[in-house]
Symmetry: C2
Subunit: 186 residues, 2 copies
Amino acid sequence: MNEAAPSSRDRLIAAAARLFRQRGYHGAGIADILAESGAPRSSLYHHFPNGKADLGRAAAEWAGAGMLRIIDDSFANAPDYATGAATLCHKLAKFFDISDHRDGCPVSSVLYEDTEETGLRQAVDTIFEGWIAATAAHARRLGVPAEKAGEAAETLLMAIQGAWILARARRSSDVLRSIPGRLPEV
Amino acid sequence: MNEAAPSSRDRLIAAAARLFRQRGYHGAGIADILAESGAPRSSLYHHFPNGKADLGRAAAEWAGAGMLRIIDDSFANAPDYATGAATLCHKLAKFFDISDHRDGCPVSSVLYEDTEETGLRQAVDTIFEGWIAATAAHARRLGVPAEKAGEAAETLLMAIQGAWILARARRSSDVLRSIPGRLPEV
């Protein structure tokens, strides 16, 4: 049991995040997530007593941590902030390409759960601010003046979210790759 | 009948767009849309024989036409492109504020309907390209060089979509108002 339990939890989370990318939070029903995960229904309420909102938060946090690793990987060996930002945009464009030019951001999809009681909106905000803070920290480390780093990071993440929407409408990652050339130099 | 029929069609479209803003395409069920519109169920399939996908397209196109009017209003009396762009961002921020800092873009929410057969993705793309083309036309009219106008317009609409997502997570329109200062001058 101790070995099996984390595994069905992880499978549920990964399945939920995958379906949120494809269909959004509301488009991915509990039955779809269970089928996609292969986990038994009993494990869902064992691991996520409040059902979909709990699972939605876990999936958003899991996907958010994945994005944080992509941010860190992009900037880790970059000689300067602009190169790291360009690498980040190219990595995300590749992710979009391998999803057959379709998938959305699983984290922002959760914003359509519009009730405050679930705390999902606040959870999404915390994830976004984490991405911005991590990007800003890389910017400062790479020599961007402290007073500009936060705004540059926020602008970059804002542009990525917006470009992702255009990319989905066009089924083309070109606009994601073009972000660095569109933003002011820092 | 001739007077009543258009009215229930319009009510269905407006109700769908309103619910897409609040809950996204998949979060707004047919029953919710009917209840919100006050229209009889029979009118739904009379006006939209293919049901939700048809209504979804009509609602996205209706909301898209509304955005086009906001774009035109913002640039109509602007002395230059930068002023028009700033007016557009401020108008959208006000719309967001009066939605209790919650509503999303009803057009982009339709992208989570992931099947190609419905043509919804292509319809969304056409709406987005219409916004970009209209903004680019204003840019050229206001003296932005033709070779820069298209990219400037695309960058502005991309930034608006991305900022809107951040604004929803934060329940604050500040990031929408701050867009003009974040983009390169054109």
